[in-house]
């Protein structure tokens, strides 16, 4: 019998998250893929999950999951796991996914790892120490294996399956409502989203201040891309967290990544070194970013980038 592989389906900004769809594709490849979808979602949520590999969807659209975050979801999933015994449950390494997986592992006293499933077995290849090592890891012991997967680890694979839906009851215990969401604030995001962008122009500490990001914005526009940043630039509050690329930010794999004033700390490389082509500009010839760059320019970003912008404009006019 095929292994039962469950996916924790997440709703982000009113949509099934891209990472959920990536996990479903992998789950369907490994065994029988089923999804658990908790909280109010879009009307076509089940269809979307089904088209991406889910053969069954455990569903509750109760607002308790949206308004009280982790604890109700943990309760429901623990009950479902006890009834159906999936071999593996996959979670996206997102804000919500990580919280639910961590709490479940403690509650069920079972395994959890920041892993990616590979080739049918619960042996995972994971980057360690910010990607400077690559380990294979396994999970042993009783109970389901909970696996956290970084976004972009797997491809989305659209299919044509039709899923059955099983409604699940939401827990009524008030102790599970101890976390209360009072307000949700979406910060305005202009231009293409980082994760979906084919070109990313990214800035780091070398930009020396928030003003210079305007220059990157102009370059990104010319290249039809989006602007990203390192943790240093985000921690300095030059740009919002939503732009952060790296181990603690977003993982991106664009066709072109232009790193401006970025030294290439492993924390940053972990989030972008899967990019197809990398161009780097930095004053320090020894900066680690040059080890992953297809074209590295040792020079001043404030001279090189404006010249590149002028050059691209000239070629557009021609």
């Amino acid at each position: 019998m095929a292994d039962l592989i469950w996916v924790y389906a997440e709703i982000v900004d009113g949509k099934i998250s891209r990472a959920t769809l990536e996990l479903l594709g992998k789950a369907a490849e490994l065994g029988t893929a089923e999804a658990v979808l908790l909280g109010p979602g879009p009307d076509d949520a089940v269809t979307t999950l089904s088209r991406h590999g889910a053969s069954k969807v455990y569903r509750s659209d109760d607002p308790v999951y949206r308004d009280h975050l982790t604890l109700p979801a943990v309760e429901t999933i623990a009950t479902l796991i006890a009834a159906h015994h999936p071999t593996v449950m996959l979670f996206a390494s997102s804000y919500g996914g990580r919280d639910v997986a961590a709490a479940l592992s403690a509650r069920l006293d079972c395994d959890v790892g920041d892993l990616a499933v590979k080739d049918g077995a619960i042996v995972a290849t994971i980057p360690a120490l910010g990607g400077s090592y690559q380990n294979t890891t396994t999970l042993t012991g009783p109970g389901p294996k909970l696996v956290l997967v970084r976004p972009k680890a797997f491809e989305i694979k659209p299919g044509a399956a039709s899923a059955t839906v099983e409604d699940v009851p939401a827990p009524r215990d008030t102790a599970l409502r101890r976390i209360r969401v009072l307000e949700r604030v979406t910060t305005e995001r202009e231009g293409p989203q980082l994760e979906d962008s084919r070109v990313i122009v990214s800035g780091g500490r070398g930009l020396k201040g928030p003003e210079r990001f305007a220059m990157l914005q102009e370059l990104a526009q010319l290249l039809g891309g989006a602007v990203g940043a390192t943790r240093a630039a985000v921690d300095a509050a030059w740009v919002p967290y939503a732009l952060q690329i790296g181990q603690t930010g977003k993982t991106v794999k664009p066709d072109l990544y232009v790193a401006c004033g970025i030294s290439g700390a492993i924390q940053h490389l972990a989030g972008m070194k899967g990019s197809k082509t990398i161009v780097a500009i930095n004053t320090d010839a020894d900066a680690p970013i040059f080890q992953v760059a297809d074209l590295g320019v040792v020079g001043d970003v404030f001279k090189v980038i404006p010249q590149l912008i002028e050059e691209l404009k000239k070629r557009k006019r021609a």
Partner: protein, 259 residues
């Protein structure tokens, strides 16, 4: 308010960490250790809360003997006391084993708020806080970019994919803080001197009632099988800007049909 901060002591960020191919663990011997810069943010946030509302800040650390220097820096910043879970039987614990040990230590004294970094800067799994909250039976408020306590209620701004959520819970609760939440203070000379007199209470696994099935390598269910290097990218070209760096990039992009 009794605040507990779970802190990790990690190799200093300036060194390149190596993995021992035999044990498949990080080589910590002869590598200088420091208070994890991420954990320092949790310590700082705890100190600010204690300054505003009164109360104590206790730092809990699991680690070998060489963790002491990092514990001292948390005390030098201003933490009132420290608990050090130091025992060879704890070495090799996975995330859940670590959480069980921390929970057992924290339960020994009354607490109102547990603060943790979102994740450590050496292993980044980010699992311990969520497990710890579950084991302690308190609600986890995670990814805080701002934190306030009003009476018995803790409220955070929680980082989200598209912005932030305002989220609250009654105490006792656990909060994880993101790196942008504050700029940790530097210990003063007075703080450093004072830290030497502060108590560091030590517990072994047995003190905490934990056996080989719970913690250490024997209790771990996550096992590293192999350690290797990722495939390297094919080497690229590095040029020095001689006044035409921007043009050269444009030519390179045109050659790849990227413009």
């Amino acid at each position: 308010m009794n605040i507990v901060v779970c802190a990790k002591i990690v190799p200093v960020s300036s060194v390149t960490i190596q993995i021992d191919p035999g044990t498949r663990r990080m080589i910590r011997k002869d590598v200088s250790q420091e208070l994890d810069p991420q954990a320092a943010k949790a310590v700082e946030e705890a100190l600010r809360l204690a300054e505003r509302h009164g109360g104590s800040v206790t730092v809990v650390v699991m680690g070998g003997e060489d963790a002491t220097v990092g514990i001292r820096s948390a005390l030098a910043m201003g933490a009132s006391a420290a608990i050090h879970l130091s025992d060879p039987a704890l070495a090799g614990s996975d995330a859940l084993g670590t959480s069980k040990a921390l929970a057992a230590a924290i339960r020994r004294a009354p607490f109102d708020l547990v603060l943790c970094a979102t994740e450590s800067s050496d292993s980044y799994t980010g699992l311990v806080p969520g497990q710890l909250a579950q084991l302690l039976g308190i609600p986890p408020l995670t990814f805080a970019t701002a934190l306030t306590v009003d009476g018995n209620t803790v409220t955070i701004k929680r980082q989200s994919e598209g912005g932030y959520d305002t989220v609250s819970a009654e105490l006792p609760a656990l909060v994880t803080v993101t790196t942008g939440i504050n700029e940790p203070r530097y210990p003063t000379l007075k703080g450093i001197m004072g830290a030497k007199k502060k108590e560091i209470r030590k517990y072994t696994a047995a003190d905490l009632g934990l056996g080989p099935g719970d913690v250490g390598a024997s209790g771990a269910r996550e096992h590293v099988l192999t350690v290797g290097r990722p495939p390297a990218r094919p080497p690229g070209k590095t040029i020095r800007d001689e006044g035409d760096g921007g043009k050269q990039i444009a030519d390179f992009l045109a050659g790849l049909k990227l413009v």
